[in-house]
C-alpha cells in the first residue's frame, strides 16, 4: 500500500497534513509492528488500510477479495445492547464454527458470556474485542494497541495466544503498539513512523525466531534500536 498524502479538514480552521509518502507492503504471514509517537497517524493508517477512510491520495491494494480481515480498534467498540457472546457471534462469517468455549476460557471470559458490555471493566471489554477478532480466524489481523489496560499476566497470555494463532494459521498481522519491548518480543519486522506530516523513518527486520529471543538478546536489541532511532524510540 502506498499513501501519498492524507490531510484532515479541521472544523475550526485549516487542514492538517497527517501522512505523507508512506509506502510499505506486508508479506503474507508476516508479523509487523507499527510504532510511532502518540498522534502521529497510526490509527489513520490502519483506517485507510481497512477502507474506512477513502479520502486520501494514494492507493491501497487490499489482500485477495475473500480474505477475512479482523481488526481490534483502539477502543473495544462492542455493541452495548448485545451480550459478550452475541457480540462475538455476530462477527462470525456464515458457517464458521469456532471453538468459543476454549477461546473464552483462554481469555478469562467464561463467566461473562452473558454479560452486557456496560457491565464489564475496560480490560474485560478489550478482551472481548480480542475474542471477536480471534474467533473469525482471520487471514489478516490489524491490531491497534490491543494489550493496554491489561495486567502483565493477562497481557502475556494474550500475546501467547496471538503468537499461536499467527503461527498456526499464517495470519498476516499488523500491530500498532507503544510498547517497544512488546514489539521486539513479538514482531519479525518493525515499521517506525514519525514526523509532521508522518512518514516512514525506519523499517527494521527482526529475523530471529520469536522463541529464541531471550531477555538478554532483547535488551541488546532494544539498546541498539534506541541508538539508531533516538527520536522515535525510548524505553
Amino acid at each position: 500500500m502506498r499513501i501519498d498524502a492524507k490531510d484532515f479538514d479541521r472544523v475550526e480552521s485549516g487542514r492538517i497534513a497527517v501522512l505523507r509518502d508512506l509506502a510499505f507492503s506486508l508479506e503474507p504471514g508476516s508479523f509487523t509492528c507499527l510504532i510511532g509517537p502518540s498522534g502521529c497517524g497510526k490509527t489513520t493508517t490502519l483506517r485507510i488500510m481497512l477502507g474506512l477512510d477513502r479520502d486520501f491520495r494514494g492507493e491501497v491494494r487490499p489482500p485477495s477479495h475473500d480474505a477475512r480481515i479482523a481488526a481490534v480498534f483502539q477502543e473495544p467498540r462492542l455493541l452495548p445492547w448485545r451480550t459478550v457472546e452475541q457480540n462475538v457471534r455476530l462477527a462470525l462469517p456464515k458457517n464458521a464454527t469456532p471453538d468459543l468455549d476454549t477461546l473464552f476460557e483462554t481469555l478469562g471470559l467464561s463467566s461473562m458470556r452473558s454479560s452486557y458490555p456496560e457491565e464489564l471493566s475496560l480490560g474485560l471489554a478489550r478482551r472481548v474485542a480480542l475474542a471477536r477478532a480471534f474467533a473469525i480466524d482471520p487471514d489478516v489481523l490489524l491490531l491497534d494497541e490491543p494489550f493496554v489496560s491489561l495486567d502483565e499476566a493477562t497481557a502475556k497470555r494474550m500475546r501467547a495466544l496471538l503468537l499461536r494463532l499467527w503461527r498456526g494459521r499464517g495470519v498476516t498481522v499488523l500491530m500498532v503498539t507503544h510498547n517497544v519491548r512488546e514489539a521486539v518480543a513479538l514482531a519479525d519486522r518493525l515499521l517506525l513512523i514519525d514526523g509532521r506530516p508522518a512518514h516512514l523513518t525506519g523499517d527494521v527486520p527482526l529475523p530471529l525466531p520469536q522463541e529464541m529471543r531471550t531477555p538478554e538478546h532483547m535488551a541488546t536489541l532494544l539498546d541498539d534500536l534506541g541508538k539508531t532511532y533516538p527520536d522515535t524510540l525510548q524505553s
Binding site: R47, G51, F73, R77, L79, P117, E119
Partner: protein, 270 residues
Amino acid sequence: MDPDVVAETAEAEETRRTSRRYRRVPTSLLSLALFFLTWTVAAWWAHDPDVPTPFAVAAFMAREAANGDLFYHLSITLARVAAAFVVSMAVGTAIGLAMGQWREIDRWLDPWLILLINMPALVLIVLCYIWIGLSEAAAITAVALNKTPNVVITLREGARALDPKLAEMARVYRFSRLALVRDVMLPQLQPYIAAASRSGLALIWKIVLVVELLGRSNGVGFQIHLYFQLFDVTAILGYAFAFVAVMIAIEYMLVQPLETRLTRWRAKPA
C-alpha cells in the same frame, strides 16, 4: 480474573424479578385513581351538566357497550389507526433513515418534507377525498400523509446521531445487511422509534377523528362529532375515554414490557 457469580437459587431469583416487574402497576393504578378522584371532586364541585362525573361517563359507556355501538365504532377506528400507523411508520422510517444518512437525498427531499408537514390536515384530507374518492383507502392515505413527515423528521435525527464507530466495526467484520440493521442500527434508533410511535399513535388517532368527521360514516370520530352537534359532553368523553383506555392497555401490556426488554442493557442508574 473473573469474580464468581454468587449462586442464587433459581427460585429466589424468580421471585425477585417477578416482584420487580409487577411493582410498576400499582403506581400507575394509583395515579389513575388519583386522576379519577380529582375529576369526581371537580365535577361535584362544578355541578354543571357540561362537567359530568366519571360515573355518568362510565354509565354512558356501559349503555353504548351494551347496544354494541361502542365496540363497532371503536373497532373500526382502531383498524384505521392501525393501518395508518403501520404504513406511516414503515414509509417514514425508510425515508427518514435515507435522509439522515445521505446528504444529497436530504437536500432534495427536505423542501418537500417541510411542505408536506405544514399542509393543514384539513387540506390533505379534503384533497385525498376529492382525488381518491370517499373511500377507506382515501381515509387511510390521508392519515398516513399527515403522519409520515413526523416519523421522517424524528428518524432523520436518529440516523444523524448514529455512531459511526459501530458502523465501521460492522463494516470491517462484514456484517450482513440484516445484522447491520437489526443489531447495529435499530438498537441505536430505539429511542427515536419509541418517541415517533408513541406520539405517532396519538397523532394518528387525532387525525383519524378529523377524517371520520369529514367523510366517513362510522368510527369514534364520527360518533364524537355527532354528539358534539348535540353538545353532549358526557357522550363525547365516553367515546374519547374508550379509545384512551385501549391506548393505556396497549401501553402497559405491550409497549412498556417490550421497552423494558429492549433497554435492559443500559446500566442502571446508581
